[in-house]
């Protein structure tokens, strides 16, 4: 089963599930951001796996993976900037206390 497309997909599925769980379960904004990175990387792994095992997709997969990395970097930057800005106002990294738009 090793070195087959299925094993890569299972791994990336596990990684994505871990990322989702982390995003839903953690209260700390930084941890949530990290979980998002994990999900993005899981997706990236899927894309590269398809590129490695299916010949016509090889170049497309590489390009898409590079774009995802770039987007992830940008997203992390913006996300961190927002979190720092909120942290300065609220003095807490915990997202469940960011509730001033509730009412």
């Amino acid at each position: 089963m090793s070195n087959s497309l299925d094993s890569y997909l299972v791994l990336s599925g596990l990684l994505f599930a871990i990322g989702t769980f982390g995003f839903l379960a953690r209260r700390n904004a930084i941890s949530m951001l990290m979980s998002i990175e994990l999900m993005l990387n899981a997706v990236n792994l899927t894309i590269l796996a398809f590129g490695a095992f299916i010949a016509p997709l090889k170049t497309h997969a590489a390009v898409i993976a590079l774009i995802v990395i770039a987007v992830a970097a940008a997203e992390a930057t913006v996300g961190l900037a927002i979190i720092i800005a909120i942290y300065r106002n609220k003095k807490t990294p915990l997202v469940d206390e960011y509730d001033s738009m509730k009412d």
């Binding site: 989702t20 995003f23 839903l24 379960a25 209260r27 949530m32 997202v95 469940d96 960011y98 509730d99 738009m101 509730k102």
Partner: protein, 653 residues
């Protein structure tokens, strides 16, 4: 004339505005300006009347004089001018309205001297004069209608002048509401005229009315007559006028006897080409008029309130006028309108003077023997009574005789027969009033007895001035009968309608049918007066007449089995108020309650239900918005999973 005619209504309007705005500050002098405005208006009106009746001073030889002030409603396809039209018919009305209006204003100075709301009273009276003059002078139906509603308003304000008194406030409301019923018809009539002819100008309408389909002619005439029935208090809308006597007595004299209630008669006479084109409606007019005449006269027999007797008498005389219009005796109707205006105005002002003398008492059972104590009032009222009873040669004799003669000669024998009976009844109840008030023993409250006094000159002088036309008007404009001055004046107004009706006016024959009718009527009147004297007393030493009232005999007669039912009906006003109460207050109230329930539960229920559902849904959905990022993310995750499962299911299939 272009300047003088608009000045007639403008002066009272100015008086109303200034007295209305500043009257409170003027204090005791608040009547000066109002009375001055009406006197000035009277002077101007007399100049205009002279011009109109003699066709001089700028009046054309034929037809009337029109003034258009401005284009009132310049909508495309709908035009109404602010314009006046004065012809001989208008002039006759101007004489009545401005003369009696002026005298009533003067009289009110004395009558209202001690009332705190004097300024309000005079402001309203001026408003009434303005409205009535607009109504009379208007050259198009819409302006007539505006005046029509304005007199209704001022009548409402003046009936309810003593509004803290509940009965006055309710009488005002009743008058206003009952009038609305008739006005609704009038408004519909005006709309019908517009749809048929595309103009509301009276002269243009009359000129083109022959071209209207006959069923529309009938409808328009009936609807306009509806308005007249309301304003002139004819059956079945007669119930408001007796209650309107809650207003101050000068108001009863001016509005509810001499001028406003004549508006209906004037309207029908003015619209004579419309009614002439619908002979069926003319019969309706005659029937309603003569029925009201005998109905009201029968009620006047048993009323004990002096003003109510006069009110029912007014109804009865107005019925006469409508009967006269209905049978085609147009000029006679206007003649009776004028003479009735003067003698009924006189009688009402006289009754006001009596009420003033006995300190507000209106019940004739608590009067009696007043002749010696208030001689001027007594003599003038006696003249008024003789005039209305139709004793020759006073005003009422000539006008009533022309109406009865007109009915007889135009083939309406039933109208003549009822009218003949009413003439006798009129004489009887008027001398019942005189007997109970002025002759016999005094039944006045002993407390009030010692300060019975004649009214001040401002009140007695108008009485004397009104007594003059009550005596001489008939001889002046109505003699020789059917070719007197009034007939010469009004002939051009009615000649087309009379010619179109196909009736040839038979010449007046004194030694023939007309003379016989006149003698017959006079005989009946004389008999009725003698009967009233024998039952209710008389004391005229100058004529050697003296009889004591016999209340026992009156009681005995009214208790006879054959007459008891009639007596009960008469004293209960034939239960018309009760009928209206049952129909409109009880049953109408139930209908209104049902409509209210429907509105509350069904209409409001639907609207409120939508609101409740919306807010409820909002409250329920609000819980979804927790403000926690994870909850939203969970939603996204579940959504993603659902989409994935859905995709797989579809892709697998």
């Amino acid at each position: 004339m272009n300047f003088l005619i608009p000045l007639i209504p403008a002066l009272p309007l100015a008086g109303f505005v200034i007295t209305g705005l500043l009257g409170r500050q003027m204090g005791h002098d608040s009547h000066r300006l109002a009375v001055g405005a009406v006197v000035a208006s009277w002077l101007v009106a007399m100049v205009v009347v002279t011009g109109a009746l003699t066709h001089s001073l700028g009046f054309p030889v034929a037809g009337g004089f029109g003034v258009t002030l401005w284009n009132w409603i310049p909508a495309t396809g709908f035009q109404a001018d602010m314009g006046f039209y004065v012809d001989t018919l208008t002039a006759c009305l101007l004489i009545v309205v401005t003369t009696i209006g002026m005298l009533v204003h003067v009289y009110s100075i004395g009558y209202m001297a001690h009332d705190d709301g004097k300024w309000r009273f005079f402001a309203y009276l001026n408003l009434f004069m303005f409205s009535m003059l607009i109504l009379v002078l208007a050259d198009n139906l819409l302006l007539v209608f505006a005046g029509w509603e304005l007199v209704g308003l001022s009548s409402y304000l003046l009936i309810g002048f003593w509004y803290p008194r509940r009965s006055a406030a309710e009488a005002a409301k009743k008058a206003f509401l009952v009038n609305r019923v008739g006005d609704m018809g009038f408004a519909l009539g005006i709309m019908a005229v517009w749809t048929q002819l595309g103009t509301l100008n009276l002269q243009k309408v009359f000129g083109a009315f022959g071209g209207v389909p006959h069923e529309w002619q009938i409808a328009i005439a009936l609807l306009i007559f509806c308005g007249a029935v309301g304003k002139s208090a004819q059956f079945p809308l007669h119930v408001w006028l007796p209650d309107a006597m809650e207003g101050p007595t000068p108001v009863s004299a001016l509005i509810h006897a001499a001028t406003m209630v004549n508006a209906g008669v004037y309207l029908v006479a003015r619209c004579n080409p419309i009614f002439g084109a619908a002979p069926e409606v003319m019969t309706v007019v005659a029937a309603i008029g003569i029925f009201t005449a005998i109905l009201a006269a029968s009620i006047a027999f048993t009323q004990t309130d002096i003003k109510r007797v006069l009110a029912y008498s007014t109804l009865s005389q107005l019925g006469y006028m409508f009967a006269s219009l209905g049978v085609g005796a147009w000029t006679a109707a206007i003649f009776h309108l004028m003479s009735h205006g003067f003698f009924k105005g006189l009688l009402f002002l006289g009754s006001g003077s009596v009420i003033h003398a006995v300190d507000g008492e209106q019940d004739m059972r608590k009067m009696g023997g007043l002749a010696k104590k208030i001689p001027i009032t007594y003599v003038t009222m006696l003249i008024g009574s003789v005039a209305i009873a139709g004793v020759p040669p006073l005003a009422g004799f000539f006008s009533k005789d022309e109406i009865l003669g007109g009915a007889f000669k135009n083939g309406f024998l039933w109208v003549w027969a009822i009218g003949f009976a009413v003439a006798g009844m009129t004489a009887f109840y008027m001398f019942r009033l005189m007997g109970m008030t002025f002759w016999g023993e005094s039944r006045v409250d002993p407390e009030k007895e010692h300060h019975i006094h004649e009214s001040p000159p401002t009140m007695t002088r108008p009485l004397i001035l009104l007594a003059i036309p009550a005596v001489f008007l008939g001889m002046l404009i109505g003699f020789p009968p059917e070719s007197g001055l009034l007939h010469q004046w009004l002939a051009p107004v009615f000649e087309h309608t009379i010619a179109a009706s196909g009736r040839t006016e038979a010449a007046y024959t004194f030694f023939g049918i007309d003379g016989a009718l006149a003698i017959l009527t006079t005989g009946l009147v004389a008999a009725a007066i003698v009967l009233a004297w024998r039952l209710f007393g008389v004391n005229m030493p100058a004529l050697g007449l003296r009889a004591e009232p016999r209340p026992d005999q009156v009681r005995e007669i009214s208790a006879r089995p054959a007459l008891a039912a009639l007596y009960r009906g008469s004293s209960n006003k034939w239960w018309f108020d009760d009928l209206n109460n049952l129909l409109f207050v009880v049953w109408g109230g139930k209908l209104a309650a049902a409509a209210f329930w429907f509105d509350r539960t069904v209409i409001d229920g639907t609207v409120n239900g939508i609101g409740v559902v919306t807010t409820g849904a909002g409250t329920a959905l609000r819980r979804v918005q927790t403000g926690r990022v994870q909850n939203y993310a969970l939603g996204i995750a579940f959504g993603l999973i659902a989409m994935a499962i859905g995709y797989i299911l579809i892709a697998v299939r």
